[in-house]
Amino acid sequence: MTTALLFAQLKLRLLAGNLRGDLQRRLGFVFTLLIAAGLAVLGFFLMSLLRLAPDDIAASLVIVAFTSFLISWMIVPLLAFGLDDTLDPAKLSLFPLRTRELAVGMFTASVTGVWPVATLIVMFGALAGLARGPGGLLLGVPAVLLQFALCVVASRLITTSLSSALRTRRGRDVLGVAALLVVVLAQLPNLLMNRGFGDPEAMLHQMAAVLRWTPPGMAAHAIADGGLVGLAELAGMAALVVLLGWLWIKALSRALVTPDVSTQGASVRKGSGLADRFLPDEPLAAVVIKELKYMRREPRFRVGWFSAIVVTIALSFSLSRSAGGAEGLPIVLTSVGALMIALQAGNAFGIDGRSMWMNAVAFGDRRALATDLAGRRLANALIAVPLLAVIAVATGVFTGHPAMIVPAALAGWGALGIGLGVGSVTSVVLPYSVPERMNAFSGAAPGQGGLAFASALGAAFGVLLLALPLVVPLAFGLLWVSALAPFYGLLAEVLGRRLASGIGYARLPELLAAISKGS
C-alpha cells in the first residue's frame, strides 16, 4: 500500500513539476483538464441515459462501448504518445524494488492521471445505465474496476512489449507511419456505415453477439445480468487481468535489460539529386536539397505528407457522395488538398528544432532567413505542384467533369501559394517545437498543444481571408478567375515570405528558443 501511495505521489509531483513556471504549459494542462472533465461528464451522462433504452439494446451498446474502450486503450498510447505520460521503467531499474513492488508502483502511476480517471468515470456511467437490481449493482462495481484494470494492464503490456522495437530508430520510424495506417483502417467501418447497408439496430446486435464473449463483453454482461453467471464471468476476467499483469511484468523485466541495437545504421546514397543539377550553386540550393532529403527521411515529414494525401482522398469520397456530381467539386477538392499540404508549412522551423542553431549562426541578415524560407517553400512546391495536378486530374475524371481539370489545378496551385505565404508568417510569429514523440515512454512536451492550435487557427483564418478574392468569383461561376490564381498565390507567398523574414530575423533567438522545447 505504501508503494502505491509513494508512486501516486511521485506521479502527481511529476505532473506538477512539469507545469511549474511555464504559463503555456499551465494553460495547456487546464485545457486538457477541461476537455477530459467535459468528456467524463458527457460520457457518464450518455451511459446513464441507457437506463431509458430497452434492455437488450442497452446491453449491446455497453458491450460495444467497453470493447471499444479496451481497443482504444491498447492503440491510442501507441499513436498519441503525448497522452501516455507513464513513468519510464528504465529510470526505476536501479532502485532495489521487488518485481511485485515495481508492478504495483507502475500500475499506480499508470492510473494516476487525467485520462484514466475520465475513463473510469465514463465506465461507472455504464453501471448507472445498465445495472438492473441490487445483484447488478453489487457485481457492477467490481466489473467496472476489472474492466478498467484490464484496459490499463493490456495497454501497458502492449507498449512494454513493443518498447524494444520502439527504442530503435528504425522501429520508431516505421511506427510513425504505421500509426497512420491504423487510423485509416479505423475509418473503414465508418465509411462502410455511411454507405448505409443494413439497419443499425441489427448491426449493433450482430456486433454485440460477437463481442459478448470477449472480456469487456463479459464485464458488460455481468453488470446487466447480476446473477451467478455474471460472478463466474468476473472471476474469469480477474484471472485474465492477473495473467496479463504477470506477462507485463515479465516483458518489463526483459525490456529493462535489453539494449538498443540501432547504432548499426545503414549508409545513404552519396548523390545530391536532380534538384542540385538545375539550381544555381547558392545557399538556396543547399536548403532545397536538405529539405527534399528531410521529406524522404524524417518520419514526422512523412507522416505529414501521408496524412495530407489521406485526408484529401477521404474527403473526396465523402464529398463526392454527398454533394452529388457538383461541377465545382474538383476545384474544391484540389484546393483542400493544397491547403492540407500547405498546413504542414505553418511551422516551418518546428521539425528542425534544436538543430536550427546551425542555420542561426550562419544567418547574418534578414535575406539569409528569407533564402532559407524560400528553399523550404521551393522544396515543398517541387512535390506539391505535380501532386496537385494529379489530384486535379483524378477528381476531374472521377466526378465526371474533365473540363474542370485545368481550373482545378490552377486553383489548387493558387491555394498552395496562399497557404505557404500565410504559413511563413505563422512559422515566425507562433513557432512551436515538434517533439520526436515516437517513443512510447517519453511523452510530448505538454502545453505546446495550445500554441499549435493557435497557429493552425491563425493560419486557417489568414488563408481564408486571403483566398476570398478568388473564392467569391469562383463561387459565382467565373471560372476564368482561376487563371489568375497561381499568380495571386505566388504573390501571397512572396509577400508572406518577405514579411516573415523581417519578423523572424528580428526575433531569431526567441524563435530558436520556442522550437527547442522538449525535444
Binding site: 513556471g21 532495489p96 521487488r98 530508430r169 540501432s262 547504432t263 548499426q264 545504421g265 545503414a266 549508409s267 545513404v268 546514397r269 552519396k270 545530391s272 550553386d281 547558392e282 545557399p283 540550393a285 543547399a286 536548403v287 536539397i289 536538405k290 532529403k293 528531410y294 527521411r297 524524417e298 528542425d352 528544432g353 534544436r354 538543430s355 542553431w357 546551425m358 542555420n359 542561426a360 549562426v361 550562419a362 544567418f363 547574418g364 541578415d365 531569431l508 533567438p509 526567441e510 530558436l512 528558443a513 527547442s516 525535444s519
Partner: protein, 261 residues
Amino acid sequence: MTTAVATHGLYKRYGRQIAVAGVDLTVPAGSFAGLVGPNGAGKTTTLSMITGLLRPDGGSAEVDGFHVWRDPVEVKARIGVLPEGLRLFERLSGRELLLYNGRLRGIPKADVKQRADELLAVMDLSGAADKLVVDYSTGMRKKIGLAAALLHNPSVLFLDEPFEGVDPVSANTLTEVLQRFTASGSTVIFSSHVMDLVERLCDWVSVMSAGHIVAQGPLADVRGGRSLNQAFLELVGGPRGTGNAGLSWLGAKTAEPGADA
C-alpha cells in the same frame, strides 16, 4: 595584443534567477582559451550570448572588434560554433551535413566538397561519412560538429564542452586539430570543467563562478605556482575542510537485513 573576443557587462536573467551577472570576458587573438567554472556558473549562457544564439538582457559583446548584435554579418562569418547538447540535422549523413553547412554560407560547391573530404579524413570519419548523423556516437557527433564549425575557416571558434563524453582517441584527434588551428593564429575558446585538460591545452584561462568572471589571464598568472585545480578551488570557494562533518554513516559496514535485496 589584439583581442579576439571582448564582452562588457554581459547580463542575462531567467525570471528571478540571474544566470550571467555582468561578465567582462577578454580573450586575446591567437590564444587557446579555456572558460572554466563549476556547473551553473553561466558558461553556456555566456557563450550563447557571444555567438548570437541568445539575446542578452544587458551589456555588449565584440568579436574581432565587431559588435555581435549590431554587425551580425561580419561576426557570423568569423565565428565557428559547437554548442552544448549538440543537436545536429540528424537525418543528413555526416558528409551531407558538412555540404549543407558550407553551401548555406555561400561557399561554392566544389570547394565545400574538397574541404568536407579533408575534414572527414582528419577527423577519422571517412568510414561513417555516409551514415545518418542520428546513428552517430557522442564522439562522432562532437567530431562532425567540430568539422562543421571549421568548414568556413572561422577566425574564432567557440566550443561548449567539446570533450564531454568523448573517448580518449577521439579527444586526441580533436586536440590535434584545435592545436593546428590556433598555431595558424586563430582563436579557440572552449568551456570545460576538466582542469587537467585546460591546464594541458590552454595558454589563457577565464574562471567563472556564479555568473561572474573571478579570474582571467595567461595560464601561469591565474594558477600562480599552484596547480590549476588548486587555484580553481580557491577561486570558486571549494571545500573548506568541513566535508567530514556529516556522512559518518558513509562507508560504515552495517548488517541491516534485506539491504542487499
